[in-house]
């Protein structure tokens, strides 16, 4: 049986002390251990950004790809072998900015993978520029007079695209987050968790305390994530109160299940049949 320690590695962590990413990393390890997963059976895929470095700080298979491109890489890997247990680590800039089109289309396909978006509402790796989720009006080094574009609402967009598993986590609640990750990984289909986290270095507005004051657990209110329109309503809550937990959940056939001819057998495990191919070549 795998334990949390099996996922530890000796690679030096490069995040700032106090970064919300540490709690996300911990929650992932907790979730994997609780699910009895071993490092050999896991594939983490990431794009570029502080969040995308996550796979390096864990012992398992990993592919750290290009900015914004984790989802198409993950889609290809899943088609090649739908038995792979794939989890994508991305950030607000990586997923909603550079990779926005891929985000929309991964949901449309309903690829059976788990997406964790580490959403600190700022660009960390490039040192503090506004991200798609930075709130209007926030002043940064590059947006000196405040952000003038509307903030991107990932949950509402995911719902509009009929994403089957939409959740929000908070790096300040590891127990809840670990549970959400387990639910997402068990879910058959595209499962996304937008995880609020503070950036201690560059986001002086949405601090740990700022989030802590506002977040509440939907599950504790008796909310049932099965009402599509209600979920939309919840996705609009911000400012005073920020809901966390599973916002919407509805299973639909996953991408590889919809591909005719693939069946239950993975693409990689099929056999090459030269005699049959030759009949087409003749």
């Amino acid at each position: 049986m795998a334990t949390r320690n099996d996922f530890e590695n000796s690679y030096e962590n490069k995040w700032c002390p106090g970064c919300g990413n540490f709690a996300i990393l911990d929650s992932m390890k907790d979730a994997f251990a609780a699910m009895g997963l071993s490092p050999e059976t896991l594939l983490l895929i990431s794009g570029i950004g502080q969040a995308a470095k996550t796979p390096h700080f864990m012992r398992c298979n990993m592919f750290h790809t290009l900015h914004g491109r984790a989802l198409p890489v993950a889609t290809g890997a899943k088609v090649a072998n739908h038995d792979l247990n794939i989890l994508v680590n991305s950030g607000d800039g990586d997923c909603y900015g550079e990779g926005g089109n891929h985000f929309l289309n991964a949901i449309r396909r309903n690829v059976n993978i788990t997406l964790l978006v580490h959403n600190n509402k700022i660009y960390g790796l490039t040192k503090g520029q506004a991200s798609p989720t930075t709130d209007m009006g926030m002043v940064t080094k590059m947006q000196r007079h405040g952000v003038i574009s509307e903030s991107f609402n990932p949950l509402a967009v995911a719902l509009a695209m009929k994403c089957g598993f939409v959740a929000r986590g908070f790096s300040g609640d590891k127990k809840q987050l670990s549970g959400l990750i387990q639910d997402a990984m068990t879910f058959k289909g595209f499962a996304m968790i937008d995880i609020l986290q503070p950036c201690v270095t560059f986001n002086k507005v949405n601090t740990f305390a700022w989030f802590k004051e506002r977040v509440y657990d939907l599950a504790a209110t008796g909310y049932a994530p099965d009402d599509y329109l209600k979920a939309f309503e919840v996705s609009q809550e911000w400012e005073e109160k920020i809901p966390t937990g599973i916002i919407f959940k509805k299973q639909r056939p996953a991408f590889t299940e919809k591909i005719e001819g693939l069946g239950s057998k993975t693409l990689i495990s099929q056999t090459w049949n030269p005699e049959k191919i030759q009949t087409v070549l003749n």
């Binding site: 690679y11 490092p39 050999e40 059976t41 896991l42 594939l43 895929i45 570029i48 470095k53 796979p55 390096h56 012992r59 398992c60 298979n61 990993m62 592919f63 750290h64 790809t65 290009l66 491109r69 198409p72 890489v73 993950a74 889609t75 290809g76 890997a77 899943k78 088609v79 090649a80 072998n81 038995d83 792979l84 247990n85 089109n101 891929h102 929309l104 289309n105 591909i259 005719e260 001819g261 693939l262 693409l267 990689i268 099929q270 056999t271 090459w272 049949n273 030269p274 049959k276 191919i277 030759q278 087409v280 070549l281 003749n282």
Partner: protein, 570 residues
């Protein structure tokens, strides 16, 4: 017999159908043929044409001399009547044209195609009427036409077959008494080989090479390759996915390949531009991929439905920094098929991307391929499992080796963990900014070059050692070969060589071939003489003259001959 039939009209008038019927009939009668499309980027209207060269001897290029012109509309007649030689015949669709009597050339036969089609049972059979008329002039046995029509329309029921046979007969009989000097006897016979275009040949190559995943974004002229490949998915374990853009397509195939299946994409220059970032990822993560760039003229949107050979230097250098890659440029369908199989093999063997340069002319033109298309004896994947790794729990994906190629284990396939990244990395796949490591990793990737170069085949030559050597790459080789033969007939001591394997550049054999000739001329469909520049860069040999065509149309032997005459070389 060696004649060219040209069929022109508006897009949507069924030019392709007339062409397909004539091609099939000639192919079934044992003739060699080469069918070239020339169409505009529109679905209806405008002016498009298709030309078929039919010969009883092997042919490798289209010809400029038209023997039979089928003008489905007035515009075709006006644009192309001058191309018809004095012994040729023009079939004029009178219903469409209403041409004044005194403007019609003597060898023009008026034919009310639509009227005959209605007589046969429906206007929809107009194309069959036209094909029947053309085949009658060429001397086809009617039985041959009937067989073709039955085969083509049998799935639509007896009624449709009968209607088309009647239409073909009306067209056929309308030509009785019309004199056509090249008329021959065409009967059902053993076909000379496979009638196939470059797109389908590429798809067959991918199938034979055990490619299982293809992702793409639609773009002319590359989409037909994906269409042909996808058609195999009904019977073979193949998945084709239309991605949201070329960026996604390229990244998807990298993901699929990383997870262990052979994967490819096809696009044209503009789409390739979007793929170049991920091309670098494939190189950095040492993940095999095969990418087809079906060239069309650029820059930007350029001429979407036309042909070009202008991305050679681009694909050799595409994506930032330096890394090893393969670049191939097959010239005809059989060569395309075999190149695809080699590209997948070599990409796996060296864990490096392979790029295939095709073009609209090669993709869309139908050739008779005489050599058989054979499935490879085996597929080597160059993948290791735990049992082949000494201490699999300590496995390092990018272990330093003498030849630069590290044993490749797949993710989640055993105890060995596969860690890959687009960042510079240590042997174990983790990010590293260490100077010494950086130098070692650059040298590791660079080390693959010598092995890859050793895999490159020397260009095929004809009359090696001739005083005048013509050099070409990719699909212009057919025209160059025929031009060379014509030069020889004119008494010019000429030879030619064609490069299929382009990168890593086979410098030694190329320099050796060129050293035997007094003069060397490059022939390419671009304006920079890209092959000429590449040869100079790689061998130090400077070309004496360049025959360049960059009007978006394929190069013809006559273009080469005229250019050489003007340059005083022929």
């Amino acid at each position: 017999m060696d004649i060219t039939v040209k069929i022109g009209g508006e897009a949507g008038q069924g030019i392709q159908t007339v062409g397909a019927l004539i091609s099939q009939a000639c192919h079934s009668a044992g003739y060699y043929l080469l069918s070239v499309n020339d169409f505009e980027s529109r679905i209806r209207g405008g002016h498009s044409f298709l030309q078929i060269r039919v010969s009883d001897a092997p042919i490798t290029a289209p010809s400029h001399r038209v023997a039979l012109l089928v003008a489905l509309n007035r515009q075709t007649y006006d644009l192309h009547k001058q191309e018809v030689d004095s012994t040729g015949v023009i079939l004029l669709n009178d219903a469409e044209n209403r041409v004044e009597k005194n403007t019609v050339r003597l060898n023009t036969v008026r034919l009310n195609i639509d009227e005959l089609a209605i007589q046969a049972g429906g206007k929809i059979t107009a194309n069959t009427v036209a094909a029947g008329a053309v085949l009658s002039l060429m001397g086809a046995d009617f039985q041959l036409i009937e067989t073709i029509l039955t085969k083509r329309f049998s799935s639509k029921g007896d009624g449709v077959v009968q209607m088309n046979v009647a239409a073909a007969r009306l067209g056929y009989e309308s030509m009785s008494g019309v004199d056509f000097s090249a008329k021959t006897v065409m009967k059902s016979s053993a076909p000379k080989g496979k009638l196939i275009n470059g797109s389908r040949a590429a798809a067959l190559g991918a199938l034979a090479a055990d490619c299982r995943f293809a992702a793409f974004y639609p773009m002319s002229p590359a989409t037909a390759i994906m269409g042909a490949f996808d058609s195999f998915s009904d019977d073979f374990p193949i998945v084709t996915e239309q991605a949201e853009d070329e960026i996604a397509a390229m990244n998807m195939i990298i993901g699929a390949s990383y997870a262990g299946v052979r994967a490819m994409t096809s696009t044209s220059g503009g789409g390739f531009c979007l793929m170049t970032e991920a091309l670098g990822l494939a190189a950095m993560a040492e993940t095999p991929v095969v990418v087809i760039n079906a060239q069309r003229p650029g820059p930007a949107t350029g001429l979407p439905t036309r042909t070009s050979q202008s991305d050679l230097l681009f694909v050799i250098n595409a994506s930032q920094d330096e890394f090893p890659r393969f670049v191939f440029a097959p010239g005809a369908p059989h060569e395309t098929f075999e190149t695809m199989i080699r590209a997948f093999h070599l990409s796996d063997k060296y864990q490096a991307p392979a790029i295939i340069l095709m073009d609209q002319y090669l993709c869309d033109s139908s050739f008779v391929a005489e050599k058989p298309f054979a499935v490879p004896e085996k597929i080597e994947r160059f993948i290791v499992g735990d049992d082949q790794i000494e201490n699999s729990s300590e496995y390092q994906r990018f272990a330093l080796t003498a030849d630069g190629v590290s044993p490749r284990a797949l993710p989640c396939a055993g105890r060995a963990l596969s860690l890959a990244t687009g960042n510079e990395h240590l042997e174990d796949g983790h990010i590293s900014e260490d100077q010494t490591n950086r130098k070692k990793m650059v040298e590791k990737r660079l080390a693959k070059f010598s092995g890859m170069r050793a895999e490159m085949r020397a260009p095929e030559t004809y009359h090696e050692g001739a005083a005048l050597m013509l050099a070409s790459w990719g699909s212009s080789n057919g025209a160059v070969k025929e031009a060379t033969l014509a030069l020889n007939e004119m008494g010019v001591d000429a030879g030619c060589m064609n490069l299929v394997d382009i990168w890593p550049f086979p410098g030694e054999p190329v320099a050796e071939i060129l050293s035997k000739s007094r003069r060397f001329v490059v022939v390419e469909c671009n304006s920079y003489a890209q092959l000429g520049k590449l040869i100079a860069q790689e061998t130090g040999v400077q070309y004496d003259h360049a025959v360049l065509k960059y009007d978006g149309r394929p190069i013809y032997p006559i273009d080469i001959l005229n250019d050489l005459k003007d340059a005083g070389l022929a």
